[in-house]
Amino acid sequence: MSRFRVLIIDDEEELATTLVERLTYRDIEAEYALDGISALAKVVAQPYDVVVLDLKLPGISGEVVLRRIKAQFPHLPVIMITGHGTPHGHEAEKPEQAFDIVAKPIGLDALIEKMEAAVKKHE
């Protein structure tokens, strides 16, 4: 029995698949999408407890994807990931509607903590 369902949206397939696999090891049901359009299709098709979304995506940008998700599912928490993160700067980059933001390279344990916090908050 998985703890919660998560959708990883990142154009780096290697990163997305690896994350899915690692989360699976931790009893978290994870799926991934490589661009905004397929991600939105997935979000509509099946329910997720939390979404992890890269700010920089080909085609529709991460911020637009965030707005679309929030428009349809206002209670679905979204955690952003960014390659532009800095020790002090990434907080400033967090879009208002996102639950939190994490800098690449990702610390998996920290990400899981944030996901748990997000899921708990929206239960």
Binding site: E12, E14, T18, L19, G85, H88, A103, P105, L108
Partner: protein, 586 residues
């Protein structure tokens, strides 16, 4: 990144060169000043414009003075000529009158007395006495017959019987009927002159009445003029022999040291330039019916000094005006040139700040791009390593499990190190965006030192930092502060040898301010350079430095409401003190 790259005039090399050459290190090829060191263009401008303005102001003053001097001198000379002319005309009239009077008296005697009456010593003596009583100046009288023999004589000498037949004056009397002689000493041995008249006797014969007059008669007339000590009046004859005493031109009967002036009916006054500013005004008049020429000569000593004496007020005015003009010109020119220099420097500083900012923006953008591109593969490596670790941990009897986990942890640690670098790069790039935030100064200083960590390690440099424990956080711009301290650390690193030492302290001072001191034990800054180090383009690194680092650092610190000072001693080291307000202003 808010700044976009746009073409910026590349003025750095020109201005840097100009500044180094003209302001700080004058070029040897420049024309040198009169007292040695070559002049900067500002000094030349100051000199040139001082000179020009002074000339424009002083030349009309000088011209006016010059004209005034000439008018005054001309007036002075004209006045002199007039005075001399007046003396001449009066004295000529008096002399002519005196001579005419004597001539008339003798003429009267001849008309009134018969020859027989005169040709007795008694008669002649009576006549002489009468003449002496009435007119004065008569010394003796004599009657000479047509053969030139003195028939009778009354006077102080024994001259009866003397023969004048062969003398010039006797011939003149025979021809013209009257004769007035030059002055001579004769038998009497004092200056005197003679008036002689011819009288026809009935029957064709004639005789001559001859009177001797004392020259004192005429000398006294001139003496009575009471002339000033520079004016000399005297009589010469037509041969240039002085007849009455002269002050400057010789004694009686000496030849005058000037040419006999040409005959003129009326008086004549001539100005003559001698030398060394001396003028001689000569006036003369021929005395009618006599061989005499009246001379009045006056020396004008140095008319300029005469003018100076009379125009002291004007000269004072001139001197004070000129001094005032020079002072005003000097100060206004200096003020103007200094303002020009300031504004040139300010302009150059603005240009270079812009250029520098642009350069930094480009570097920042590049850094951000590189960091971002590296962060993605780093994330993949990190997750792949993490997955391997998960697999090893979750698979029972994983071959060489311990060794694998060690390798994986090593990979993850390396990724962490890389990500520290990329995160710092991204933080660095963010400095271009001005934003105020609460900053932990100690963290910021450590972070900035982190940029230099590899250089510090390779050069065995000891960095000692001591931060006050109660160091308050500070509201300021993180990026700008990073740049300030990065510049100061770079300078410190450049100043010290390998194995050198840098000490960083941060502590609150006063209320509401914090001071950061960065001290190195490097080469130090010579005192002559110390006052220039915050000027744009001043560099001691030769062609390797832009000379802008400290200038921009000072600009930023001032913009953040703080100040930067420097203490240095050659051979001991340098310390920069940055004082910052805890609360940002504006």
């Amino acid at each position: 990144m808010k700044l976009t790259e746009r073409p910026m005039p590349t003025v750095l090399p020109e201005l840097k060169m100009a500044e180094n050459k003209y302001v700080n290190q004058p070029d040897e090829n420049l024309p040198s000043g009169p007292f040695g060191p070559p002049l900067s263009p500002y000094s030349r401008l100051r000199r040139f414009s001082s000179l020009l303005t002074s000339l424009i102001a002083l030349i009309p003053l000088a011209i006016l003075t010059f004209i005034n001097y000439h008018q005054d001198t001309d007036a002075y000379r004209a006045e002199n000529r007039y005075a001399i002319s007046r003396i001449l005309s009066n004295t000529k009239r008096t002399l002519e009158f005196v001579l005419e009077e004597r001539r008339s008296a003798l003429s009267f005697v001849l008309r009134e007395k018969h020859y027989e009456e005169l040709n007795t010593n008694e008669g002649l003596a009576n006549t002489l006495q009468n003449l002496k009583n009435s007119f004065g100046g008569f010394i003796d009288l004599g009657i000479i017959d047509s053969g030139g023999i003195q028939r009778s004589y009354v006077g102080p000498y024994n001259l009866a019987g003397i023969n004048y037949r062969d003398q010039d004056w006797f011939e003149e009397v025979i021809l013209r009927g009257v004769h007035v002689s030059d002055v001579f000493m004769g038998h009497r041995n004092f200056p005197h002159f003679v008036i002689a008249f011819k009288k026809e006797k009935p029957g064709g014969d004639f005789y001559v009445l001859r009177a001797t007059l004392d020259m004192e008669l005429l000398t006294r007339l001139i003496y009575n003029l009471e002339l000033d000590r520079r004016t000399d009046a005297f009589i010469i004859n037509q041969n240039g022999i002085i007849q009455t005493p002269s002050v400057f031109y010789g004694g009686v009967l000496e030849r005058a040291r000037f040419e006999v002036p040409p005959f003129m009916m009326d008086r004549e006054v001539i100005d003559e330039y001698l030398e060394e500013g001396q003028w001689l005004t000569t006036g003369y008049a021929y005395i009618s019916e006599s061989p005499y020429i009246l001379m009045v000569m006056k020396r004008l000593d140095k008319p300029f000094w005469h003018w100076v004496d009379h125009r002291a007020d004007l000269l004072w005015f001139l001197g004070i005006s000129a001094a005032l003009i020079l002072v005003v010109v000097f100060y206004s020119t200096t003020y103007m040139v200094n303002r020009l220099k300031e504004s040139d420097l300010k302009r150059a500083r603005v240009f270079h700040n812009a250029e520098y900012t642009n350069k930094m923006a480009t570097i920042g953008r590049m850094a951000a791009g590189v960091a971002h591109e590296i962060n993605n593969p780093l994330a993949i490596i990190n997750e792949k390593a993490g997955l391997l670790k998960d697999m090893a941990e979750h698979t029972p009897e994983y071959p060489q499990k311990e060794k694998t986990l060690i390798q994986i942890n090593s990979i993850i640690k390396s990724v962490e190190r890389c990500s520290n670098v990329t995160h710092r790069l991204l933080g660095f790039s963010r400095r271009m965006e001005v934003q105020k935030e609460n900053i932990d100064l100690a963290d910021l200083l450590k972070e900035v030192m982190g940029f230099q960590s590899s250089e510090i390690m390779h050069r065995n440099i000891i960095v000692e930092s001591s931060f006050a424990p109660e160091l308050p956080s500070l509201e300021s711009d993180r990026g700008q502060l990073q740049q300030v301290f990065l510049n100061i650390f770079n300078n410190a690193l450049a100043a010290i040898p390998n194995g050198g030492q840098i000490e960083i302290t941060a502590a609150p001072i006063n209320s509401g301010e914090v001071a950061v001191t960065v001290t190195d034990n490097g080469v130090g800054i010579p005192e002559k350079d110390l006052k220039h180090i915050f000027e744009p383009f001043f560099s001691t690194k030769g062609e390797f430095g832009t000379g802008l680092g400290l200038s921009i650092t000072q600009d930023i610190v001032q913009k953040l409401g703080g100040r930067i000072t420097v203490n240095s001693a050659v051979g001991t080291g340098t310390s920069f003190i940055v004082t910052l307000p805890l609360k940002s202003r504006g």
